[in-house]
């Protein structure tokens, strides 16, 4: 075990799957105590590279050297034992087991063959303290919020005395404060000479915490630089393979800066309260042709609001008006009939029907409209599907391809098409670009823009401030289930949104005017 030279060196890594070369002579070098970002679009190969490192895949060619020793991990367990831990995007812990049990699952401290609960709890508390986290370790993991769950995952990683911690999109479910806590933990790891690989799409975070970045594109490593040496736009340009000047011109998102001319009121929500305690008293209004951004921290009630409007969850109190007429949707089918569509937050659990084809997923909500006497009109179905595949540029081998084989971005397009083919008047979009690579993200954002231009009303929930700022005509902010601010176009800035999310509206910054 040497203490000089890089901790990790991956060189000449190639990997092919049937029909596609995922990696071609890719490389990755991580120094000791270094926080190293890996960036690139989906399909660029970064997740494949990481999976080879962590033992989920076997490489076809190349070498992996850890601390001077060649390694070849066959399984995540082996990687773990070898000193490489992974924190996944979705918290990969078990919800019913306690915090302490999760940290020590598989290596429980024992006494006479039975679990030594006292020691396990004490150790768990100690590990979490090192991360600056205080939580009751006997609580079921699932009963604490996602950010804390991530901390528990990290505590588990540390308990293995890892030399390298791989973090795969660790902040996608965290708010600003929680991200700050995570960064504190990462700095602590750095101080302990533990290296971190930080895989992320989020530029701000990468620049805030990482030392170096490896950029991947088309299965190859195109850059390995210190972050101090490369500017944002250049980084994005390198990822996209585009010209720097071009990116500078058209902005980082697919939204343009122009506002939309908003017309009549489509949706008016006043004092909406849902079942459960999350949605308390929300107000929002959307006009035809405008994009209203809905901002808020995790748990502030954004998704609950969208679901309540859509009839997916029961409404306990409040007023809901569509086109000026009071309505109450008993089920999503009612809302759909009224011309509303909802693209849910989690594609996998609530969006796609994985075994069904692109065609069937796309036309799922349209079935009543394209059926006569209960029989599906194949020709109309085909025509609709062809039209939307073309219009949205959905990359698929054919309408019969199983939707689960598509990339995240293309799946999202199919889900959007599911609503668009109904010719809706109002779209509720919950994190429409989450988990999607930069290229497809831009396309979807541009699409949303286009839809608003053509007269659709859009309520867009997003955790990406950049997206909200560039895309919204107005922004409504929720906190603890209540509407606390409404920002008119001129007042929309990242700072204003953050201030409202955290504390309530800053002085004078846009008060709720009910419209």
């Amino acid at each position: 075990m040497t203490t000089t030279g890089p901790l990790l060196q991956m060189e000449g890594i190639s990997k092919a799957f049937p029909g596609v070369r995922a990696l071609e002579e890719a490389s990755l070098t991580v120094g000791r105590g270094e926080v190293h970002a890996v960036m690139g679009q989906n399909g660029a190969g970064k997740s494949t590279l990481i999976k080879i490192l962590t033992g989920a895949y076997r490489r076809d060619a190349g070498t992996v050297t850890l601390d001077g020793q060649p390694v070849d991990f066959h399984s995540p367990q082996q990687a773990q034992a070898g000193g490489v831990s992974t924190i996944y995007q979705e918290v990969n812990l078990v919800g019913f087991r306690s915090v302490a049990e999760n940290i020590f699952l598989g290596r429980e401290p024992r006494r006479l063959g039975l679990i030594d609960r006292r020691r396990m709890h004490a150790e768990a508390r100690r590990l979490l303290e090192r991360l600056g986290v205080e939580v009751e370790v006997s609580r079921p993991l699932g009963s604490i919020n996602v950010a804390l769950q991530q901390m528990v995952a990290i505590a588990r990683a540390i308990s293995f005395e890892s030399r390298l911690v791989v973090m795969d999109e660790p902040t996608s479910s965290l708010d600003e404060a929680e991200v700050a806590t995570l960064f504190g933990v990462i700095r602590q790891l750095k101080a302990d000479r533990v290296s971190v690989i930080f895989v992320s799409h989020r530029l701000d975070e990468v620049y805030a915490i990482c030392d170096r970045v490896t950029i991947m594109r088309d299965g190859q490593t195109v850059d390995d630089r210190a972050l101090a040496d490369v500017g944002r736009l250049e980084l994005v340009a390198r990822m996209l393979g585009k010209d720097l000047a071009e990116v500078r011109r058209s902005g980082a998102t697919g939204f343009t800066d122009a506002t939309h001319r908003a017309e009549r009121r489509l949706l008016e929500v006043r004092g909406l309260r849902g079942a459960g305690r999350t949605l308390e008293h929300a107000d929002v209004a959307v006009r035809a042709g405008e994009i209203v951004g809905l901002a808020g921290l995790l748990g502030s009630g954004r998704t609950e609001l969208a679901r309540a409007i859509f009839g997916a969850d029961p409404v306990e109190a409040g007023e809901l008006k569509v086109d000026g007429r009071p309505v109450r949707f008993g089920s999503p089918a009612d809302a759909i009939r009224a011309g509303i569509g909802l693209a849910p937050e989690d594609r996998k659990t609530e969006g796609i029907v994985p075994e069904m084809s692109v065609r069937e997923n796309l036309t799922l909500a349209l079935l009543p409209a394209i059926s006569r006497y209960g029989v599906v009109d194949r020709r109309r179905q085909q025509e609709v599907v062809d039209r939307f595949i073309r219009r949205l540029g959905i990359k698929t081998t054919g309408p019969d391809q199983k939707i689960r084989e598509l990339s995240g971005g293309n799946q999202q397009k199919v889900l959007l098409a599911r609503w668009l083919c109904l010719d809706p008047r109002l779209l509720l979009l919950d994190e429409p670009t989450r988990g999607i690579d930069v290229g497809a993200k831009g396309e979807i954002q541009a699409l949303i823009n286009e839809l608003a231009d053509s007269g659709l009303g859009v309520l867009m929930i997003s955790s990406e401030l950049e997206e909200l700022v560039e895309g919204s005509d107005r922004v409504v902010v929720l906190r603890d289930g209540r509407t606390v601010a409404e920002l008119p176009h001129a007042a929309i800035t990242e700072d204003a949104i953050m201030a409202a999310m955290a504390e309530g509206p800053a002085d004078g910054a846009g008060e709720e005017d009910g419209g």
Partner: protein, 329 residues
């Protein structure tokens, strides 16, 4: 299979539901006991209590094994047939004495359990269909080996002592019942094994990523289920004096009912051995009460009514549990 963690609300709700179900079963059990005690003479007599417990020991053992299997998110439909097979085997080896009469059938159960477990764990086949097939196979084996008739045990070899010996006035089956459940509670509460079982039922993919040896654990629970079914078969043979290849029909389903009533989640991840105990006693007590009711001569319930009552009871109990759980959260 989702890999995202379930939201906090639903975790708490599920835990609460499970807890309430187990407690609900206990309450129902207590009420039924009270009802019986008040209504019938001799309900709480030593004779009734001990024979009730002795007779239900075999169902208890099967339900215990089922609890662990269900906690991994699986199911074992073969246990009734395995018990029948084991009873035949027990009768056939009973001439070699008590030890052989216990060891060999239990071993047979273990082997069957290992086959089930292998197909589920390594073959990646669904537990429902695997154990369904095993149900047919075990039944076929039992009938074949027994020549389509019951097989008398050897009454000279001491095997039948299992049914008749008493310790502190309690028959051996009752002790076996009690010890099995005590061990079960201990294992579930304090061993790493049980944590792994529950983690796998909670989210198998995640458990695997966390380094658990999923296949081995699954193999172990099915082997355990088989072993307990084997022991149940031994008790069957000892208590009835003969191995019965055609017995055990539907035992797996009543075991599942007992497990669910006791608060173990059918989807896995959360379980209660004590709850299963209440479930077993509750379901068994219904028959006991029906017998007493018949004995009073006020109503004469044909045995056919028993299944209606049992089904109805299951319906009401689960209904109430679901209602209770929903209201609390």
């Amino acid at each position: 299979m989702a890999t995202t963690s379930a939201p906090a609300r639903s975790i708490t709700r599920a835990r609460l539901a499970s807890l309430l179900q187990g407690q609900g079963a206990l309450v129902a059990l207590a009420l039924l006991v009270l009802f019986g005690a008040l209504r019938y003479d001799n309900f709480l007599s030593a004779y009734n209590v001990t024979s009730f417990l002795a007779n239900n020991a075999k169902f208890g053992l099967i339900a215990l094994g089922m609890t662990f299997v269900i906690m991994t998110g699986g199911i074992d439909l073969s246990v009734g047939a395995v018990a029948a097979l084991a009873s035949v085997v027990a009768a056939m080896v009973s001439e070699y004495g008590l030890v052989a009469g216990i060891a060999v059938p239990v071993l047979v159960g273990v082997v069957i359990g290992l086959v089930n477990g292998s197909l589920v764990a390594w073959g990646r086949l669904q537990p429902f269909i695997v154990t369904l097939a095993m149900l047919l196979a075990a039944r076929g084996l039992a009938l074949t080996v027994a020549g389509n008739q019951s097989v008398a045990v050897d009454f000279e070899s001491g095997f039948t002592a299992l049914g008749t010996t008493t310790l502190l006035t309690l028959a051996a089956p009752i002790w076996i019942f009690a010890v099995a459940y005590l061990l079960g509670v201990l294992v579930l509460g304090r061993t790493p094994f049980s944590r792994h079982v529950l983690a796998i039922g909670d989210n198998e993919e995640t458990a695997r990523l966390m380094g658990l040896r999923v296949e081995r654990v699954k193999l172990a629970v099915y082997a355990l289920s088989g072993a307990l079914a084997g022991m149940a078969g031994v008790l069957l043979a000892a208590q009835y004096g003969a191995g019965q290849p055609a017995e055990g029909v539907g035992w797996e389903l009543t075991a599942i009912a007992a497990v669910v009533v006791g608060g173990t989640l059918l989807t896995g991840g959360l379980g209660s051995v004590v709850g299963t105990l209440w479930g077993v006693l509750l379901l068994g007590l219904i028959f006991n009460v029906l017998n007493f009711e018949n004995g009073r001569g006020v109503i004469s319930l044909s045995p056919y009514w028993q299944s209606i009552v049992l089904g109805g009871f299951l319906l009401v109990v689960v209904l109430l549990q679901n209602r209770l759980a929903a209201r609390q959260t």
